[in-house]
C-alpha cells in the first residue's frame, strides 16, 4: 500500500510539472533515454491542442516554465530574471537569485542601463520577436542586398532547439542554440556549451555592460562563447559582422559601409593606448585612464543582449534612422537590444 502511495504520489508530482525540470540539454531539453518521460512535458500524442503535438503554442508553452509565474525553470526570460524557484536542487550555482539574466527579458528587464548602480524591473524597449511574427532581419544577406530581410518570422524555437544536442554533431550547444537559426540562410555555427552554466550576470548591481560570458563575467579569448556567438548571430544579421579595420574601410555595401568592429580585437596604437602606456615600467603597462569596460575583444554581446533590453534612447540616439532610412520607431524604440541608455555603450569604451 505504501509503495502504491509512493508510486502514485511520484506520478502526480511528475505530472504536476509538465514543463519538467528546466535544465538546458537535460531535463525536458535533451538527454533523452530510451524510456524518457520528458516528451510528456510538452507533447500530447493524441490530444495536443497545438501544432507539433504541443500542449500549448510557442512561446506560451516556453513561458509555462520560463515565464513570470512558471515553476519549471529558474530562468524567467519574460522578466529577464533568475529565480531559484524550481524543485531541482541540482541547479544550485547556475545563477544568482533575483539577478538579471544575461540575455535580458522579453517583457521586462533588470538592467542597470544608466550605470547608476541600481536596477529595477522595467519594461523592455526593444526585444527579439518570440511569437513567430515577422519583422526585418537587419543586415541579413550578402553585401549589396539591401537593408535586410523583411517578413522574417521569429520565435523562441527559431534560435533554440528545445530537444537539445543542437550542434551539427549532435552535441549540446550553448543555450540550446541551433546550428542554423531558422530562416537565417546561414551556413551554421556551433556555439560550445558552458561547462558550468551561469545564467545571470556577474555584477551584483545588474550592470550589463562589460559583462563577459566566462565564469565570473570575465571575457575570454577568441573562440570563446562571445566570439562564437557573434558568428552565430551573423547568420541572421550577416553584414553586422565586422572585423578589425571595418570602421575605416568600406565594405562597399551601400548601407553597411563602415561598420564598427563586432568580432575581434581592436587594433592600432590608439586602441591599445586606451589602456596601455608603453612608457610605463613594466607589463601590462596599464594606465589609470583606461576605462574599466575596455577589452581586447568586441563582439555582438559586448553591446547587445539577446532577448530584450530596457535601455532608453533620448536625443540623437533615439532619432538614428534604421538601415532602410526610416525613423520609426524612434526614441526608446530605437534601443536595439543595447545594454546601456543612449550611446552609453560607446562612451564606456571610447570615453570621449
Amino acid at each position: 500500500m505504501i509503495n502504491k502511495f509512493i508510486l502514485v504520489t511520484g506520478l502526480l508530482l511528475l505530472l504536476s510539472l509538465p514543463a519538467g525540470l528546466a535544465l538546458a540539454d537535460n531535463g525536458p531539453h535533451g538527454g533523452y533515454t530510451a524510456s524518457t518521460d520528458a516528451c510528456a512535458g510538452c507533447h500530447r500524442a493524441h490530444t495536443a491542442p497545438a501544432p507539433k503535438l504541443l500542449v500549448n503554442a510557442v512561446p506560451d508553452l516556453c513561458f509555462t516554465c520560463h515565464g513570470s509565474t512558471g515553476q519549471g525553470a529558474d530562468t524567467n526570460v519574460v522578466d529577464g530574471q533568475y529565480f531559484d524557484r524550481d524543485i531541482d536542487s541540482t541547479d544550485s550555482g547556475e545563477g544568482v537569485n533575483n539577478r538579471g539574466l544575461k540575455g535580458g527579458g522579453f517583457v521586462n528587464a533588470l538592467i542597470d542601463t544608466n550605470f547608476d548602480g541600481t536596477a529595477t524591473s522595467t519594461p523592455v524597449t526593444s526585444a527579439h520577436l518570440n511569437d513567430g511574427s515577422s519583422g526585418t532581419a537587419w543586415g541579413n544577406g550578402t553585401f549589396g542586398s539591401g537593408p535586410g530581410a523583411t517578413g522574417f518570422g521569429l520565435s523562441c524555437t527559431s534560435c533554440h532547439d528545445p530537444h537539445g544536442r543542437a550542434s551539427s554533431t549532435g552535441s549540446a550547444t550553448y543555450r540550446l542554440l541551433r546550428f542554423v537559426p531558422f530562416n537565417s540562410g546561414g551556413s551554421g555555427r556551433n556555439v560550445t556549451d558552458e561547462t558550468n552554466k551561469l545564467y545571470t550576470v556577474s555584477n551584483a548591481n545588474n550592470k550589463y555592460f562589460g559583462e563577459g560570458y566566462a565564469a565570473g563575467g570575465t571575457w575570454l579569448q577568441m573562440d570563446s562563447q562571445e566570439a562564437q556567438l557573434s558568428e552565430w548571430c551573423m547568420q541572421c544579421h550577416t553584414r553586422y559582422l565586422a572585423g578589425t579595420g571595418s570602421g575605416n574601410t568600406s565594405s562597399t555595401d551601400p548601407v553597411f559601409s563602415y561598420r564598427h568592429l563586432s568580432h575581434g580585437a581592436p587594433t592600432g596604437g590608439a586602441a591599445c593606448q586606451k589602456c596601455h602606456n608603453w612608457s610605463l615600467p613594466s607589463p601590462p603597462f596599464l594606465t589609470t585612464t583606461a576605462g574599466p569596460e575596455w577589452h581586447h575583444y568586441v563582439e555582438c554581446m559586448s553591446c547587445h543582449v539577446a532577448h530584450g533590453t530596457s535601455a532608453t534612447m533620448n536625443g540623437y540616439a533615439g532619432i538614428v534612422e534604421w538601415p532602410d532610412g526610416t525613423t520609426s520607431p524612434s526614441g526608446d524604440g530605437r534601443s536595439s537590444l543595447l545594454r546601456a541608455d543612449g550611446r552609453g555603450v560607446c562612451q564606456r569604451c571610447h570615453g570621449k
Partner: protein, 728 residues
C-alpha cells in the same frame, strides 16, 4: 545611400524630446553634441552610425572632412543650434593679403569636446602634414581673460596667436595680421572679441572659404552694440547701423563702410572717442570726453565748434568737391549757402544769444540730434523720438520749443493759436486736407531778423520780392510743392492771383497783403487785422467794417459820399455786407471800377444772376454809357415780385466824392518830410493811406507822437512813412 547626420524630422523629434526630458538629456552644455558626454550620452548618434556608417570613423554621411561638419554647420537651421561656419581660409576672400591658405575644422576643434569653449583643441594642429601642434591653448571666454588674445597670458595659449606666431603656420609672420598694439590704428585689441570683426564665416555662406577673414569694420561691427566690459566708452558703443533706417537719416539706402568714412576718422578707432573730419581741410574734431558729441550731452559750445564739420559737406562743393559723397548718390544739401547760414538768426542768435550749432538737443543746443538718423524728421532731436514722433513734434511743435515766448520773445505759437491762422497745425491739416509748415516760409538756415522770409518756391534763398508777391507765391493758384490749401474755405478762395493790378493792389503797392492780413494768425477772420463782416441780414454797425474804415471814411457808405450813391441803402438800410458786391482783392472783370465782384454773393449768399439777359458775372455789372453804370442782378430785375426789385438803375460816378480820410490823417506839420508819390490814375478820388514799408525793424519809439496813426495801423514795429495814394 547618403544619410545626413540629422534630418528635419529628426530635429522635430529631438525638440520634442528636449521639451520632455530637459536640458540634462540633450543640451548638456554649449558643446552638445561636441563634448560633455555623460555615461548614457546620446550624442554619438549625431555623427556616427555603429553598423551603417557612410564614412570612415563610422561617420553618418558620405561627406568627409570639413564637408561632414557642414552637414550641420551650413546655416540650414538643422539643428538650429549649429552656428554657420566657413573654415579658416582666404581662398574665397577678395581682401586677403596673405598667400592662399585653408585650414580644416579639426585643426582647431576637437569634435568630441575639450575643456575649452567651442571644443577648441588644447593642442591646436598647426601643420597637418607634419602633425605639429601648438599650445596648450586656453579658451574660456570670448573677451577679457583667456579669450582670443587677452594680452596677458602666454601667447601660445591664445587660440589666435598660438598659430600666428608659429613659423610653421600659414599665417606666420603676422605681417598682414599684426594684432596687438599694431593691429588697426595702433589700437590694442587685447581682450576683445575677435570674431566681432573676424567671424567664422565672412559672408555667412558656409560654402565659401573665408572663415575669420575681416568683414569690413564699420557696418558689420557697429550693427550691434558693443560692450566688452571695459566701460570704454561708458555704457559701451551703441549700435548705429540701424539708425540709418530711421525716419530721417543720412544715406538713403544701405549704409556702407565708405559712407562712414566720409565723416569719421579711424586714427584712434575703438578708443571710445569719436573722431570727425573736415573734408575741406585736415582739421580733425576729437571727442575729448566720451559722449560729448552725443546730442543729449553736447554743449552748445561744442556744437558751435563742430559746425564747420557739418558745413564742410553742406556747402556748395559738397565733400571737398564731391557733391554726392555717399553711396546713395544723393546731392548734399547746401546749408551753408555762401554767407546765408552764417548770417542767419539761428547761427548768430541776433540779439537773443550767440546762436546755435547743428548738433544738439533741440532746445539748449542745436536742432539736429545725430548725423546718423532720427525717429523724427530732418534728423531733428531727440533722435529716439522720445518727445513723441507725431507730426507736431517734428514740425511746428519743434519750432515752438523756442518760438513760444521763452527763448525767443515773440510768441509765435500763440499767434497760431488765434481764431484764424495759417494751418500749420497738424491736426487741422489732417482735418481739412491742407499742407503748410513753418519752413515753407522760413528756412531756418537762412532767415534772419532783417529778412525773416525765404522764397517759398526756393526755400534755399531769402525772399527778395515784395510782400504781396511773397504771399502770392502760394496764393497764386499754383502753390509750391508741399503746400496745399484746405478743401473748403469761408472767403473768396485762396487763389489771389488777380490781386496784382487791382485798385487795392495798385494803390496800396508797398503795403501789400499785410495791410489787411496778419501773417500767422488773427483774432479776426481770414487772418485780417480788423473786423470785416461777411454775413448779411445783420443790422449795420460801423464797427462791422472797422478794417475798411482804416482807409475809407464811413461817410462813403453812411452818407453816400462815393461814386456809388446807393451805398447807404444797400449797406445800412438793407444790411448787405460789402462782400456782397465787392471782392477787395480784385473785380471780376479786370479794370472794372469799384472792385465789383458778385462771385461771393452769388456762391455764398442769396444773390442770383438769374434774371435779365445777359446773366453772368461779367454782365451783372456793366457800363451803360460814359460814366454811367448799371447793376443787373436778379434783385434788380424788372417785374420781380420782390418789393425791392427794380430796373437797373444807372448812376453817374460823381466828381466830388470825399470818401477818403483827411490829409491830416497821414500828414502832419512838423514831422519828417513825407515821401509823396502821386498817381494820376484818376483825378476824382484822393485817398491818403498810411504805407507800411519794409523797414520793419523800426521801433515805435522812433515814430513821432503826433499825429496819431489810424487805429488799425498802430502797430509798433512798422514804419511811419506815409504816402498819399490817389485813387479813383
Amino acid at each position: 545611400m547618403s544619410r545626413s547626420p540629422i534630418t528635419i524630422s529628426s530635429v522635430i523629434i529631438i525638440t520634442c524630446l528636449f521639451l520632455v526630458f530637459g536640458l540634462t538629456t540633450i543640451a548638456k552644455a554649449q558643446n552638445n553634441p561636441h563634448g560633455n558626454y555623460s555615461a548614457a550620452t546620446d550624442a554619438c548618434g549625431a555623427c556616427h552610425r555603429t553598423h551603417t556608417g557612410m564614412g570612415v570613423a563610422l561617420r553618418a554621411s558620405v561627406e568627409q572632412g570639413d564637408d561632414f561638419c557642414l552637414n550641420c554647420h551650413d546655416g540650414s537651421g538643422v539643428p538650429a543650434t549649429a552656428p554657420v561656419v566657413s573654415t579658416h581660409a582666404n581662398v574665397n576672400f577678395s581682401g586677403g593679403s596673405e598667400a592662399s591658405f585653408q585650414l580644416t575644422c579639426i585643426q582647431c576643434h576637437e569634435p568630441h569636446g575639450t575643456s575649452n569653449l567651442s571644443s577648441i583643441r588644447e593642442a591646436v594642429i598647426i601643420n597637418t602634414t607634419l602633425n605639429l601642434t601648438t599650445g596648450p591653448v586656453v579658451f574660456a571666454a570670448t573677451s577679457s581673460a583667456n579669450s582670443f588674445d587677452d594680452g596677458n597670458s602666454n601667447p601660445v595659449s591664445h587660440i589666435c596667436v598660438t598659430c600666428h606666431i608659429n613659423s610653421e603656420n600659414a599665417g606666420y609672420p603676422m605681417a598682414f595680421h599684426t594684432g596687438g598694439v599694431n593691429h588697426i590704428g595702433n589700437f590694442n585689441y587685447a581682450g576683445q572679441n575677435c570674431i566681432a570683426c573676424h567671424p567664422h564665416s565672412a559672408d555667412d555662406d558656409p560654402t565659401t572659404l573665408d572663415g575669420f577673414m575681416p568683414i569690413g569694420g564699420c557696418t558689420n561691427c557697429h550693427a550691434a552694440a558693443q560692450d566688452n566690459g571695459d566701460n570704454i566708452p561708458v555704457g559701451g558703443r551703441r549700435a548705429v547701423v540701424d539708425e540709418f533706417g530711421r525716419t530721417s537719416h543720412h544715406v538713403q539706402g544701405s549704409v556702407t563702410d565708405a559712407d562712414c568714412l566720409v565723416c569719421h576718422v579711424m586714427a584712434t578707432h575703438t578708443n571710445g572717442y569719436v573722431q570727425l573730419k573736415n573734408v575741406d581741410n585736415t582739421i580733425i574734431y576729437d571727442e575729448m570726453v566720451w559722449g560729448s558729441f552725443r546730442a543729449d550731452e553736447i554743449s552748445n559750445t561744442i556744437s558751435k565748434a563742430l559746425q564747420p564739420f557739418c558745413l564742410s559737406c553742406h556747402d556748395s562743393d559738397g565733400a571737398g568737391g564731391n557733391t554726392t559723397p555717399f553711396s546713395d548718390g544723393q546731392t548734399v544739401p547746401n546749408i551753408k549757402g555762401g554767407t546765408l547760414w552764417a548770417e542767419s538768426a539761428h547761427n548768430t542768435g541776433e540779439t537773443t544769444n550767440t546762436g546755435y550749432g547743428c548738433l544738439g538737443d533741440g532746445s539748449t543746443s542745436g536742432c539736429h540730434a545725430t548725423a546718423h538718423g532720427s525717429n523724427i524728421n530732418s534728423l531733428l532731436a531727440p533722435s529716439d523720438g522720445s518727445s513723441g514722433s507725431n507730426n507736431v513734434n517734428q514740425e511746428e511743435g519743434f519750432c515752438y520749443t523756442c518760438h513760444n515766448g521763452s527763448t525767443v520773445a515773440k510768441d509765435i505759437e500763440a499767434e497760431f493759436m488765434r481764431t484764424s491762422h495759417h494751418d500749420v497745425n497738424d491736426g487741422e491739416q489732417t482735418a481739412n486736407g491742407s499742407a503748410l509748415e513753418c519752413t515753407n516760409c522760413h528756412n531756418p538756415h537762412r532767415v534772419k531778423n532783417s529778412n525773416r522770409l525765404s522764397d517759398p518756391d526756393n526755400t534755399q534763398q531769402l525772399w527778395a520780392g515784395t510782400d504781396t508777391n511773397f504771399c502770392l507765391a502760394c496764393h497764386d493758384g499754383n502753390p509750391p510743392a508741399g503746400v496745399s490749401f484746405p478743401t473748403t474755405f469761408n472767403g473768396t478762395g485762396f487763389d489771389k492771383s488777380n490781386y496784382s493790378g487791382s485798385s487795392h493792389s495798385t494803390n496800396l503797392d508797398g503795403y501789400g497783403c499785410r495791410h489787411c492780413h496778419s501773417e500767422h494768425g488773427s483774432t479776426y477772420g481770414s487772418l485780417l487785422v480788423g473786423q470785416y463782416r461777411k454775413s448779411h441780414h445783420q443790422t449795420f454797425t460801423t464797427s462791422d467794417y472797422s478794417l475798411c474804415w482804416t482807409c475809407h471814411n464811413t461817410s462813403t457808405v453812411t452818407a453816400d459820399q462815393s461814386a456809388f450813391p446807393e451805398h447807404r441803402r444797400h449797406v445800412v438800410n438793407q444790411n448787405s455786407p460789402c462782400i456782397h458786391c465787392h471782392d477787395v482783392h480784385a473785380p471780376y472783370d479786370v479794370g472794372e471800377p469799384g472792385l465789383i465782384n458778385f462771385v461771393y454773393g452769388v456762391t455764398k449768399m442769396d444773390v442770383s444772376l438769374n434774371g435779365r439777359t445777359p446773366s453772368n458775372y461779367s454782365t451783372a455789372f456793366r457800363a451803360i454809357s460814359g460814366a454811367q453804370w448799371g447793376c443787373y442782378l436778379l434783385c434788380h430785375a424788372q417785374g420781380n415780385l420782390n418789393s425791392d426789385d427794380h430796373d437797373p438803375q444807372p448812376y453817374s460816378r460823381g466828381s466830388a466824392d470825399t470818401i477818403g480820410n483827411s490829409c491830416t490823417t497821414c500828414h502832419y506839420s512838423g514831422g519828417p518830410a513825407p515821401v509823396l508819390t502821386v498817381q494820376t490814375v484818376s483825378p476824382q478820388f484822393n485817398i491818403y493811406l498810411p504805407i507800411i514799408l519794409k523797414n520793419f525793424g523800426r521801433e515805435k519809439s522812433a515814430i513821432p507822437a503826433t499825429p496819431p496813426l489810424p487805429s488799425a495801423m498802430n502797430q509798433p514795429q512798422k514804419s511811419s512813412i506815409y504816402l498819399p495814394i490817389i485813387a479813383r
